[in-house]
Homo-oligomer: 230 residues x 2
Amino acid sequence: MMLHYYEKEDQVLLAVDCIIFGFDGKKLKLLLVKRNFEPEKDKWSLIGGFLKKNENLDEAAARVLKALTGLKEVYLEQLHTYSNVNRDSGQRTVSVAYYALIDIASHQFEGILLDTAKWFDVKLIPDLIFDHNQMVDGAIRRLRRRAQTKPIGFELLPNKFTMKQLQLLYESILDKKLDKRNFTNKINTLDVLEKLNEKDMTESKKGSFLFKFDQIKYSNKVKEGFSFKI
Amino acid sequence: MMLHYYEKEDQVLLAVDCIIFGFDGKKLKLLLVKRNFEPEKDKWSLIGGFLKKNENLDEAAARVLKALTGLKEVYLEQLHTYSNVNRDSGQRTVSVAYYALIDIASHQFEGILLDTAKWFDVKLIPDLIFDHNQMVDGAIRRLRRRAQTKPIGFELLPNKFTMKQLQLLYESILDKKLDKRNFTNKINTLDVLEKLNEKDMTESKKGSFLFKFDQIKYSNKVKEGFSFKI
DNA sequence: AATATTAAGTGTAAAAAACACACTTCTAAA
DNA sequence: TTTAGAAGTGTGTTTTTTACACTTAATATT
């Protein structure tokens, strides 16, 4: 039996909640579920779950995400821990928020509970339970900052993408129009994409070239002091 | 009596640990304490404590900081939550790290336990208990980023300071030499300091003018879209 | 009273980065 | 063969960043 060195203190329930961002090729979206238990049954909510004794928070977040969407190997980053005493009307719960980035187009959702889940435009988020709107706001701000200094945007795109899609993605994240020529020039200057001999023909007669993010090239450049900046 | 909706879930001990930064006019320092209980008794450690039922994490961090240093109204910011299953060799504990910024010179430490506490140069941090070195590394990186986009550096300085002190502070935080003229020009361009009709005579015969951070001017500029950038 | 000492204070030119801006090219469909 | 529509591309201007060294002010020394 384990010794308890610390005097008995109050224990708390520790939850994880996931802000799941997706990009459908046009707009940045957020996956929300209709909560099917009390309290706050039938209100929209982030997906969440509780930390178990044998896992850390990163693992708990990945487990919760997989359980509810079927997705694994998804980009997940811890955001902030929310702890107001009455934040959960059920009982004292502290929640660690994570945000996830997934590419909507290339994932088939196994949709275990996708009857109760829905993608919302990030600019049209409904009222959520507890402090979940605050978590979403924090996640959007974090994503905005992070996407400008780390190549995490590619997590939201298919493996192969056009320059137009990449620009639309950044426009969605930063919530502002970007100039096509300046954007292309900047991306080309970064020199971390591989241009494929392959075109996407769905959007124009001419077709537009597809690109891939070159993770190896990026890592090597980082080792030599390069820093990604959009 | 409160209903327990989630009662089958595991509970955990939730700790806060504080990374306390100070600036002595020359170098950036960190306050560490020698731990006086098991496990890991007599090793250097961050100060910490446990979350209580009637407070949130920000309050817990402030309480812990005040209990151990006597300081209140200190800049505190949540950093990250650490949760590896065996991070604490005593029992399963999840810890939320906070970092604090204090001005060493102008605070008289009541020093309740300052016999067991010591300021360390941030570049010479000893081996700490558990994952505290990881927390410190995270805090330094966060401070470095934050100090470039928010005027939090002033939290580490006395109310009145010279341009030289401000420059030395940024050099410590960013861990690189800055050019005096470029630095002065940049700070003047930001236009958020008030230049006092008062000099610090301790460092030179000529004396150097003292400045104050003008919080009101800064807030007004932020409202008009200004963003602080060093 | 003159001189020496020491940090404080100050400006400009060059390079790099950010920005504004519009026409040509390619291909499929008509 | 013509048309239609998105893809693709370059330059000049402005702003920001960087590199760089002498003068000034006040005290201390002679």
